[in-house]
Amino acid sequence: MKWLDKLSERSARTLARNSSRRSFIARVGTLVLGAAAVPLLPVARAGANSRPPAPGESGDPDSCDYWRYCAIDGYLCGCCGGSFNTCPPGTTVSPITWIGTCANPVDGKDYIVSYNDCCGKSSCGRCMCNRNEGDRPVYQPFLSNDINWCAGSSADVVYNCSTAVVLGLAVAES
């Protein structure tokens, strides 16, 4: 039976892909009930790659809940051989990309976050994360996470994973 709950976990991930974080949490909640009969095995967190977050931050940069990911859509580079702000070996960064505005829970301030894609290898396939706070339709490209921004990289459209880089403080919203 051991394989059953492990498979259920995988299914949860599959299902969670391309759904919002809220839905994801909801589902995993349900799933834990579903698999409660079977004890879960010790499992290393999918991504244990990232350096600890910068001073003035908190949270786990390899978790979809990390504050910088409020408008991300893709595989977290920290689970793919890079980190929340570096690309995996052999991939090329996309200089042009979309930005989000995320609130840092530690200082309560809004920051402009740039979601640069890492490009040149097929999808990493780990730690899929899709959150759409402030995401806009693709006719507003620089606010849209539905665009494969590798388009602007030297590796063309071949997408591997996504980073979340702080560009600076957001201007106060009125």
């Binding site: 599959t14 299902l15 969670a16 892909r17 391309n18 759904s19 919002s20 809220r22 839905s23 042009i96 040149g120 290898k121 097929s122 999808s123 396939g125 899929m128 899709n130 959150r131 759409n132 706070e133 402030g134 995401d135 806009r136 339709p137 693709v138 006719y139 507003q140 490209p141 849209s144 539905d146 665009i147 494969n148 921004w149 590798c150 388009a151 602007g152 590796a155 063309d156 459209v157 071949v158 997408y159």
Partner: protein
């Protein structure tokens, strides 16, 4: 092997009638041949396209018969696959495709591949600028003019432009820049609209050779700062239906040279808005032309939930804007489509679970499911 065979027979004797004595043995069979599909598509057929997020170099399109749940065949459609283009006579299938000389690296080549719909075989290709829009699939990445003559493909590098392909002559006509405007919404034999960042439409006009003769930027028809419309607009007769994150419906008549916005209405009444009902999904709108019905995939969620899956389809009369029906789906869904005939089927699929669900689009009754349809099924299309 022998012993296994015996075991097997013992087992089977338990469940099967005793073999008749002297039964004729099975005649040797010939080499398998390939099935050819009927010339006329069943209106209850559906094409399911899969971008295959984990392996984007190997996109696929699957053809399923909604009446029987039979899987009829598939196409291999390359990297970053969005969807097929089906002309109104379904005499051919056009597929915008992207390939790299070394799978995920090397030289990029974009093509329109022409397939025969009966044999599902390539019959030719036209090489186009290697700039196809690499975005989350929608049916508005490319489109065919109303007379089925020209195929328009939206490009993003991130510079914005469109390529025009003459599908009758099977040649690339050319490319024209469309700075600030995206996607392709056909509106006549020689005209199409594009959605611009300021909430306006760009009207692009072609001549009979497919060359762009005019690009007219119009007045915004909605306020992007207040209420964004999704890029998943659908067409009803000569009107494009845009639905906003909040569920407001912006109809725009495109029958004339200049698009004419109509009165705005809402999918939701006050109580529904307060219960935070929202449209959501990847293909969250479908229109049944002959009955004038709009099918909208909805869920309860707040800001940022505009791409969340839903488990409810609400049906509206596009003439009266009245809500006619609420269909509760069997499963979560990110894409819905309705067949074009007068006893229509409603198709639904969730990108997180490759099972196609089929409903009676009039009664909303759940009919059947078809499993193992791809890895991350993205869009639905009916011939």
């Amino acid at each position: 092997m022998r012993s296994l065979t015996l075991q097997k027979l013992v087992l089977l004797a338990w469940v099967l009638p005793q073999p008749a004595i002297g039964l004729a043995e099975i005649k040797p069979e010939s080499m398998p041949e390939s099935i050819v599909l009927p010339a006329d598509p069943n209106p209850h057929w559906v094409w399911v396209s899969d971008v295959v997020f984990h392996h984007m170099a190997d996109g696929k399109a699957y053809l399923v018969d909604g009446d029987t749940g039979r899987f009829l065949g598939m196409l291999s459609t390359g990297m970053g696959f969005v969807g097929l283009e089906l002309p109104s006579d379904y005499a051919q299938i056009y597929s915008p495709e992207t390939y790299f000389s070394r799978g995920t690296r090397g030289e990029r080549t974009d093509v329109i591949t022409f397939y025969d719909p009966r044999e599902l075989k390539p019959t030719g290709e036209v090489v186009i600028p290697p700039k196809r829009f690499p975005g989350m699939p929608t049916h508005n990445h490319s489109a065919i003019t109303d007379d089925d003559r020209f195929l328009i493909v939206y490009n993003f590098t991130p510079a914005q432009s469109v390529s025009v392909i003459d599908v009758r002559e099977r040649r690339l006509v050319g490319e024209t820049e469309t700075a600030g405007c995206a996607l392709v919404l056909p509106s006549g034999d020689r005209r199409f609209q594009m959605m611009c960042g300021d909430g306006s439409l760009l009207t692009v006009t072609l001549n009979d050779q497919g060359e762009v003769t005019a690009k007219q930027r119009n007045e915004p028809f909605f306020d992007p700062q207040a209420d964004w419309v999704t890029e998943k607009a659908v067409r009803f007769e000569d009107t494009w239906i845009f639905v906003s994150f909040k569920g407001n419906v912006y109809p725009v008549d495109v029958s004339a040279e200049r698009p004419k916005p109509g009165p705005v209405w809402s999918l939701f009444n006050q109580a529904e808005r307060e219960a935070s009902w929202r449209p959501g999904g990847l293909q969250h709108l479908a229109v049944h032309q002959t009955s004038g019905k709009l099918y909208a995939l909805v869920h309860q969620g707040g800001d940022g939930s505009h791409k969340d899956p839903g488990q409810d389809v609400w049906v509206y009369d596009l003439k009266t804007q009245r809500q006619l029906q609420r269909i509760e789906l069997d499963k979560l869904s990110t894409a819905i489509e309705v067949s074009k005939d007068d006893t229509p089927l409603l198709f639904s699929i969730f990108i997180g679970n490759p099972t196609l669900d089929i409903y009676d689009a009039v009664s909303g009754k759940y009919l059947r499911s078809v499993e193992e349809i791809g890895l991350t099924p993205t869009l639905l299309q009916t011939p």
